[in-house]
C-alpha cells in the first residue's frame, strides 16, 4: 500500500476520534468521564505528532498531559467530589462560554490558516527532528521564552503551595510525645 494513503487514512481517523472526544468532554454529564475523553483528545494529538515524525514531542505530550495534568485533575476530583452517575454542571454562564469558545475557535483557525496555508513540510526520515536538535534549539534560540515559562511555572507552584498551606496551630509543637 502507498505510504501517503496510509498516512492520510490515519490522519483523518485520528482527527475524527479527537473531534468526537473533544465534543464528549463538554457534553458528558460525568466529570470523570469528561477527564477521560480529554485523555482521548490528548492521545490523538500525540498520535498526530508521531505521524509528523516528532516522536519526542509525542511522548513528552503523553508524559506531561496524559501522565501528569489529567491525573492531577482526576486526583483533585476524587479528593473533592466525583459522584458516579449523571450530574448537571450547567449554570447561567453557558451562553457566554459558547461565545468565548466560538471566538477562540475562529481566531485560532484564522491564525493557523493565515500562517501555514499552502506550506508543505518535508518529512523525509533524514530530516526528522532529533531530540538533540530540539534541546539545542530550546537552549539557544528559544532560551528566553523557556526561562520565562519556567519562572512562571515556579511562581505558580509556590503560589499554589502558599494558598493551600494551612498555618499550623500551636498544638503542633510536640504535644506530649
Amino acid at each position: 500500500m502507498n505510504a501517503d494513503v496510509v498516512r492520510e487514512v490515519f490522519f483523518w481517523g485520528v482527527g475524527a476520534i479527537m473531534v468526537i472526544a473533544a465534543l464528549r468532554v463538554v457534553t458528558t454529564q460525568n466529570v470523570v468521564h469528561a477527564a477521560l475523553y480529554l485523555v482521548g483528545t490528548l492521545m490523538g494529538a500525540a498520535a498526530l505528532y508521531v505521524l509528523l515524525l516528532a516522536e519526542f514531542v509525542a511522548w513528552a505530550q503523553v508524559l506531561i498531559y496524559v501522565g501528569a495534568v489529567v491525573v492531577l485533575m482526576l486526583f483533585g476530583l476524587m479528593l473533592t467530589r466525583a459522584p458516579i452517575g449523571k450530574a448537571n454542571y450547567d449554570n447561567s454562564q453557558r451562553p457566554l462560554a459558547a461565545v468565548v469558545a466560538a471566538v477562540l475557535f475562529g481566531v485560532m483557525s484564522w491564525i493557523l490558516i493565515d500562517a501555514f496555508s499552502g506550506t508543505e513540510l518535508e518529512l523525509a526520515g533524514e530530516n526528522a527532528p532529533r531530540t538533540q536538535d530540539i534541546g539545542a534549539v530550546i537552549f539557544s534560540s528559544y532560551v528566553w521564552p523557556f526561562e520565562i515559562v519556567s519562572v512562571l511555572l515556579l511562581a505558580a507552584l509556590i503560589g499554589a503551595v502558599m494558598i493551600a498551606r494551612r498555618d499550623e496551630p500551636e498544638a503542633d509543637k510536640e504535644v506530649g510525645s
Binding site: 501528569a68 491525573v71 486526583f75 476524587m78 458516579i84
Partner: protein
Amino acid sequence: MNWVIDLIGGPQTVIAIAKVLIVFASLLVLMILVVWAERRILADMQARIGPNRWGPFGLLQTLADGIKLITKEDFRPQLADRWTYAAAPVIAAVASFLAFAVVPFGDEVTIAGHRIDFILSDLNIGLLFFLAAGSIGVYGVALAGWSSGSKYPLLGAVRASAQMISYEIALGLSLIPIVLVSGSLSTKAIVAAQAGSVQNVTFFDGIPVLESISRYFEYVPNWYIWSQWPAFLIFLIAGIAETNRAPFDLPEAESELVAGYMTEYGGAKFLMFFLGEYLHIVTVSAMAVTLFFGGWNGPAPDFLGWVWPLAWFLFKTGLFVYLFVWLRATLPRLRYDRLMWLGWKRLIPASLLWIAVTAVVNIDNAQLSRNWKLGAFGVMFAVVMVWVGKGDPRLRSAVSPQRRLDGTT
C-alpha cells in the same frame, strides 16, 4: 504466501508481529514463574513450605490459580461505573506490557537474510517512552478506585495516585544522569555503551599498591553502576514505589484499606491487576539491568550464539525480581507521611543534586578518568546525603502528626 507478506507490508512487518507475539507469550509464562518464585521464596524466608502440591516443586500452582480466577463469576458492584470499572484492569495490565517494548533483551540474530533485533522497538526516545508508559499505569489504579463506588477503593486510589505521581518525578530525574553520560535516550544505545570492560584506568598511577590492583580492572565490566550508583539507588527506590510493592504498598494496605483500589474486583478482572503488578516488577527490574548493569552484556562462549545474551539478561533480571521479593519479606510498610517526606524532601533533591554533579563532571571530555571522577564525586555526594538524611525531627517520633495535633497521645 509471498503475496500475503507483501500485502501487510513486507518481511519486516511479519518479523515485528512475530516478535510481539513471542514476547507477549513469553512474558505471560514468565509471570507464572515469577508469582511461583515469589511464593516459594517468601515461604522459605518465613520458614514455611509454600505451594508444593501441583506439579514439580509446585510450579503449576500459579497456572491452577489463574484458571480458577478466570472461571469465577464475573461480578460488578451495583454502584460501580460500568465501563470505567471494566476498563481499569485492562489499562493497568496494558500499561505494564507497553513499557517492555523498549527493553533490549538480547543481541541481534540473522535468520534467512533478515536481521532481527532482540528488542520490540528501538525508539530513539526509549527512556521517555518508558516513563510515559509508567504514567499511563496510574490510570488503571485511579479509575479502579473511583469506579468501584466504594470508600476503601477510593481511599486506596487517592493514596496510589499521589504516591505514583510523587515518585514518578524522582524516577524520571534518576534517568537523566544516564542520558548525560551515554548521550542517548535509546535503551539499545545505552546497553551498547556498557559493552566490554573498564579500560585504561590511569587514576591510581603512581600509588604503590593501588596501581598494581588497578591492572585487574580490565576484568570489571564497564557498567554504569560503578559511576552512577546514586542514580541507581534513587531509581530502585522510586521504581519499587512505582510498582506499589512493599515497603511502599500503601495503596493496598490490607490492615487499613481491605485491599485498596482492588477491593471490589474479583475473578478475571482481579487477575489483570495481578498480572499488571507482577509485570511491572519485571519491567522495572529489566530497566534497572538495562540502565545500570550492562543489559544483556556478559561473557559469552562461542557456541549457542544468541542464547547467551538472552540468558544473561534473564539471569540479571531474575536477581532483581529476587530483590523485590526479599524486600517484601524484610521491610515493614512505611507510614504515609514518611513516604511523602522521603519522595519529595529526599529523593527529588538528591536526584537534582546528582544531575548537577554528573553534568559538571561530564563537561570535561577526558574519557579516561570519567568513571573514577564520578566515583569520587559519589563519595562526596554520600557525605552530603548522610548530613541531609538525618531526618525531619517531626517524623522522628512514633506518633503520627494527626494524633499529635489531637493531643490524644
